[in-house]
């Protein structure tokens, strides 16, 4: 029986604990609020675990360094916030195209631009899905507590290895700086990279998720962000090569949505109103469930731990139960468009938005909105 240690720590620290448990041995980052504690704990803990920490010259270099580390055979991650996440989009697209497992933590703050740098926001939901150019699919996890900062960081590494793709941990300032008891098991389930056998040379196709070699092991692997064939050779004109590659890259994620998707539901088949939430905003919903019951209103919710790819089933189930679905977000409405698309008129979709100063949506504000939309 493995021991579980309990530590009273903040979300960012829990993320580092999770990363190291998952086997992360390389971190490259650039200072930015509110992700700094990840770098600072990594700088201390990673060398002690036999890993390498380096602070790079910018976020562009940071994301490229973790890509290099991954090809050198090591699990790697970086952490940033909105402005840095924007700079990393080039490298995220490259990691997607080259099927490079790595983890990018985006601790969301209030944008656009430098906005209110120390305050919480949830404005990167669409950037995490569509931030880089071209066709792609992303895996984006959304923790709502320090415990989940630990667990979903582990999961992010495992998904990155399983699907050979970059995975984004989309946290927010509140979750990153919240402190609570975090249970850290001595051992966690870890997915290891599938390596090719000597003589194999199909590292970019031939199967849905091909094995990945390390550089320096004699495979002579050509890695490129340009369109390439199954062996990695650049083909910048042939339409079939491009279609085959990009369709597979997107498909390997979207076809496995039901395996990747992770969510929490509460009375979705027996409620008066439905809520779809993620990250720090879910705490508003939890509180609202209690005060709504006092008013005789039953709330059902889907709380997304995986934002992308999104499993439609629980959302459709909820929308079929109720007349109204509310999407509370600390932005001016991002996920609500996806919820509207999924529910397709089964229920009316309403936004409840708040931006500025890092203020949370209060349970009372949510209850007020609920009463408004269900006419009570």
């Amino acid at each position: 029986m493995a021991l579980t240690e309990v530590k009273f720590i903040q979300g960012n620290r829990a993320c580092v604990e999770g990363a190291i448990k998952a086997g992360c041995r390389f971190f490259a980052g650039y200072p930015i609020t509110p992700a700094n504690e990840i770098s600072e704990h990594m700088a201390k803990m990673l060398p002690e675990a036999g890993g390498i920490f380096i602070q790079m010259e910018d976020e562009i270099a940071s994301v490229m360094a973790i890509v290099g580390a991954s090809w050198a055979g090591v699990k790697s991650m970086t952490a940033t916030s909105g402005p840095g996440f924007s700079l990393m989009q080039e490298g995220i697209g490259y990691a997607f195209m080259t099927e490079t497992p790595c983890v990018i933590a985006d601790i969301q703050r209030l944008g656009p631009s430098t906005g209110q740098a120390t305050k919480c926001g949830q404005g990167d939901v669409m950037q995490s899905r569509w931030g880089t150019h071209g066709d792609y699919a992303s895996i984006v996890l959304s923790p709502n507590s320090p415990q989940e900062m630990f667990e979903l960081t582990v999961k992010a590494f495992n998904l990155a290895e399983e699907y050979r793709t970059p995975v984004i941990l989309l946290a927010d300032e509140v979750v990153a700086h919240m402190r609570e008891d975090v249970a850290i098991p001595e051992e966690v389930e870890v997915v290891e990279r599938r390596r090719p056998k000597l003589g194999e040379e199909m590292f970019f196709g031939g199967e849905e998720i091909p094995p990945m070699p390390r550089v320096g092991d004699g495979f002579n692997v050509p890695v490129t962000g340009s369109t390439h064939d199954e062996r990695g050779i650049r083909f910048t004109r042939d339409p079939q090569v491009h279609r085959r590659l990009v369709t597979r890259l997107v498909g390997k994620i979207l076809r496995n949505t039901s395996k990747i998707a992770d969510y929490e539901t509460y009375r979705i088949d027996d409620c008066d109103v439905g809520i779809i939430c993620y990250g720090c905003t879910s705490h508003t919903v939890y509180e609202c469930v209690k005060i709504a019951e006092e008013s005789g209103i039953k709330i059902g919710y889907v709380r997304l731990r995986t934002i992308w790819p999104m499993l439609e089933k629980p959302i459709i189930e909820l929308a079929e139960t109720v007349k109204a679905v509310i999407v509370p977000e600390l932005n001016l409405g991002q996920l609500r468009y996806e919820i509207e698309r999924i529910t397709r008129g089964r229920a009316n979709v309403y936004s409840l938005n708040k931006i500025g100063g890092g203020e949370m949506i209060t349970p009372e504000e949510l209850l007020h909105k609920i009463k408004e939309v269900i006419g009570r």
Binding site: M56, E57, A61, M64, V67, G68, E90, Y94
Partner: protein, 270 residues
């Protein structure tokens, strides 16, 4: 008896993509000759990183080796990480002047400052060749390009001087008209511990030469040869006297602790 052939180092079944008269052919030849001279019969101990541009295609995918062909300008941070994790490998970056000194300039500065043990080969053809010959940070003052139709109105960057000042372990500049010196420079760069940098002034007859009335590689090589000045001579004459010339030679050759060595030292502090 070992015999040198570029074929031993190139991926079979692929045809090099460069224009007739391109300096890349000379550079490939000289680089692989240096590799041969150092005793390597294949490229298994090498990892090549490159960005975007014609010169980035020198290793990728034509060298029969591991190569990581990155977005524009981003080869150096990839190479930095690879070297830190796999110190037993020779990590070599190939890139053009736009890739290395333009969009990747910040990475170049910090790699030299860190003294990370990689080799960066900057092929300087003085324009953005792949995209048609636009002005580059290396275009000499007054020269015509597609985006400076009346002549370049900026001063060019001297990347060799820059990395030397930042503490590079080895830094040299030669032209494609200096094959012997180039081979020697590549050998020294691969062998040196720490950040090593070789700038190769190279001809792009297609997208630079023809716009400056040098109609072929032979004329461009003649231009390089006749306008090259040794570093010693430049220092004797004074740098203001050699403006517009190609100052060639070894600009830095020193041993100081590398990034990995300093990292290990820091980690051992109690």
């Amino acid at each position: 008896m070992r015999e040198f052939s570029v074929k031993n180092y190139l991926r079979s079944g692929l045809k090099l993509p460069f224009c007739p008269g391109c300096g890349a052919y000379t550079i490939i030849d000289c680089f692989l000759k240096a590799v041969f001279n150092l005793g390597y019969n294949d490229l298994r101990k090498f990892v090549f990183c490159s960005g975007i541009g014609c010169s980035a295609w020198i290793p990728s995918p034509y060298f029969n080796a591991d190569s990581i062909h990155t977005p524009h300008g981003r080869a150096i941070p990839v190479a930095t990480a690879v070297k830190l994790i796999r110190p037993e490998l020779n990590v070599v970056v190939f890139g053009g002047d736009g890739d290395i000194a333009g969009i990747g300039g910040n990475h170049l500065i910090h790699a030299a400052r860190r003294n990370v043990d990689i080799t960066v080969i900057m092929v300087n053809n003085m324009v953005y060749g792949m995209t048609g010959g636009q002005v580059a940070p290396t275009t000499p003052l007054g020269y015509k390009t597609t985006t400076t139709p009346k002549g370049c109105f900026e001063y060019p960057i001297d990347a060799v001087k820059l990395v030397s000042v930042l503490g590079a372990s080895y830094a040299a500049r030669w032209t494609t008209a200096h094959k012997k010196e180039l081979i020697k420079a590549f050998e020294e760069a691969i062998e040196s511990k720490g950040f090593s940098f070789v700038e190769v002034i190279s001809q792009c007859p297609t997208n630079f030469g023809r716009r400056i009335n040098l109609r072929g590689s032979a004329e461009m090589l003649k231009w390089f040869k006749e306008n090259s000045v040794s570093l010693e001579e430049a220092e004797k004459l004074g740098w203001d006297k050699v403006e517009g010339k190609f100052v060639v030679g070894v600009f830095a050759r020193k041993r100081r602790p590398t990034l990995a060595e300093n990292m290990r030292r820091a980690a051992s502090v109690g």
